[in-house]
């Protein structure tokens, strides 16, 4: 069974994001970019399934510009077999990416797609669900445990009220939550080997995708700042402040 893993190049999660002074977009120039942390977990899960013999081949895919090949190479170094980049300048909508991934999944005859539950830049948490819808496959979102046998995936999902178990018939889309696994680090010889692994570049035209954008970002602004607080010297002073100043306890 072939597994497709979608990855995204995003601003590294340790870097404090900056907004361009004119409020038109985020300022990403010269800042450290990395693979989205949830995508790392997806890559790791696919490789573990391959190590267990459940998956025979792992194809990693991204939609992005030339620079995002860096993240594809990272995934190849971690153990993916081949990579596909669908060439795109600028940010595409989750729906466009879902349609693109659906075309790639069909082209590759993948039976399983694993991807992160959300990218930490747009915080949308949409693409996996949209992909499942476009393929008319079942979805198992926010996965913290995956076991696959006899054409089914049993997935434990992190939901608001606890943990829910779903059984989905393959082919299916699984989106990863944080606790699914702990991603490994790429070893230097594997990073060297990854440079020789196949990386194909496709265009939207080849996949018959017409990028759309009906949700337009008009402007970006910093969040409202909290007015500066103060330090209290003792528990007594804290209790007094909460009772008499903030009036949040009686």
């Amino acid at each position: 069974m072939k597994a497709l893993v979608a990855v995204k190049r995003v601003l590294d999660y340790n870097v404090k994001p900056r907004i361009k002074p004119d409020g038109s977009a985020m300022d990403l120039d010269n800042l450290k970019m990395s693979m989205n942390p949830f995508c790392e977990i997806a890559v790791e899960e696919a490789i573990r399934l391959k190590e267990k013999g459940v998956v025979s081949e792992v194809v990693v895919v991204t939609v992005g510009d030339k620079k995002s090949e860096e993240q594809l190479r990272t995934a190849l170094a971690l153990g993916a077999d081949s990579a596909i980049r669908v060439d795109s300048e600028g940010e595409q909508s989750p729906l466009t990416i879902a349609k693109t991934l659906a075309a790639v999944a069909q082209k590759e005859a993948a039976e399983l797609v694993i991807m992160g539950k959300q990218a930490i830049d747009g915080d949308n948490n949409q693409t996996g669900q949209m992909l499942a819808a476009r393929l008319d496959w079942p979805q198992a979102t926010f996965a913290s445990e995956v076991s696959i046998n006899e054409g089914k995936a049993n997935v434990v999902r992190e939901i608001d009220g606890g943990l829910e178990t779903l059984a989905v018939t393959l082919p299916a889309v699984i989106t990863t939550d944080l606790r699914l696994n702990e991603p490994r680090f790429a070893k230097l010889p594997d990073i060297m080997k990854a440079k020789r692994k196949p990386l194909a570049v496709l265009s939207f035209d080849e996949l018959n995708i017409e990028p759309s954008n009906t949700v337009i970002v008009e402007s970006i602004e910093p969040p409202a700042q909290r007015s500066g607080g103060r330090k209290v010297a003792s528990v007594d002073e804290l209790v007094d402040a909460l009772k008499n100043e903030a009036k949040v306890i009686s």
Partner: protein, 304 residues
């Protein structure tokens, strides 16, 4: 103008997240239909039917998966100019699937409604707020904590049970719900959260003791969850739950941006940390630099 809300209400009482989504619909105006996977005779449905702004209720009681809910509703969506769901794990799971079936883009986590087609939403873990404009039908999840609960009662709504359409490709197997007598995290007026500084699962009893004294829910940072001190559905943050209580007490939490994204909307924030340089103090209204093992029990003794 008409609005469809797709929501769930897992307990007997009507979930606060549904009332908060109703407030968002009320701000948009127009007639509201609520599709909900609840039983006709439940308290939640009775309460919903009595709400002033709700005209119709569609019940899909057997729908346990996103596949079934979307398959049941997708043909009924064309008449609505807005389709909303709460940005809970339920709404996040269902709405994007529905949007893609309808070939529409969607807006996640709306925190402010500027007009019928312009919305504000946080990006980059709440470090930036984007204003987005939608052309055509609007499909969106709304961040419940950004809206007050709608609670006006009025004329009774019509209630109809829809016949379930299911693809059969996804089955609900079971639910492991941790037992708790405390208020639900996202609905609590007070939240007491512990982080890595608490040190162990046993030590979390100190946090829980203070929470119980205050009638509060217990939250945690990702570090505390990953260290196995507490179950993961207690996690507050960008990837966990977003809370906005009247009082948020952060104990032994440094205040990483991912955590702040989940609690910055709280009315009053208290930080107790022995590291006076911890970033949590930058957002705290009241900060106490102290050893939590002394300060928290002392605080428990001195409240109420």
């Amino acid at each position: 103008m008409s609005v469809l809300i797709i929501a769930d209400s897992p307990n007997e009482a009507l979930a606060k997240s549904v009332k908060q989504t109703l407030m968002a619909a009320y701000k948009l105006g127009g007639e509201v239909t609520v599709a909900i996977n609840a039983q006709a005779e439940s308290e939640a449905v009775k309460a919903l039917a009595a709400m002033a702004n709700v005209a119709n209720i569609w019940l899909v009681p057997e729908a346990r998966t996103a596949e079934a809910i979307v398959a049941t509703l997708e043909d009924k969506c064309n008449d609505f100019c807005h389709i909303l769901g709460p940005a809970t794990t339920f709404g996040k799971n269902v709405l994007p699937r529905l949007a893609a079936k309808l070939d529409k883009e969607m807006v996640s986590d709306v925190i402010e409604i500027l007009s019928v087609d312009r919305f504000k939403r946080p990006i980059y873990a709440g470090n930036a707020i984007a204003t987005v404009k939608v052309s055509g039908q609007v499909i969106a999840t709304v961040r419940p904590t950004a809206f007050d609960a709608y609670d006006d009662t009025g004329d009774a709504a019509s209630v109809e049970t829809l016949s379930l359409v299911d693809t059969g490709k996804a089955q609900f197997v079971g639910l492991q719900a941790p037992e708790s007598t405390r208020p639900e995290l996202t609905q609590a007026d007070i939240v007491v959260s512990g982080g890595r500084g608490v040190g162990s699962a046993e030590n979390f009893a100190i946090i829980e003791g203070l929470a119980d004294k205050l009638g509060a829910a217990v939250g945690a940072s990702r570090a505390a969850v990953d260290a196995g001190y507490v179950p993961n559905d207690w996690q507050v943050g960008q990837t966990g739950k977003v809370v906005a209580p009247d009082l948020y007490v952060a104990v032994g939490i440094s205040g990483a941006i991912q955590h702040l994204a989940g609690m910055k909307g709280s009315k009053t924030i208290v930080a107790i940390n022995k590291d006076e340089e911890a970033p949590i103090f930058e957002v705290a209204d009241f900060g106490l630099v102290a050893d939590l093992f002394q300060a928290v029990p002392e605080l428990s003794d001195k409240v109420k």
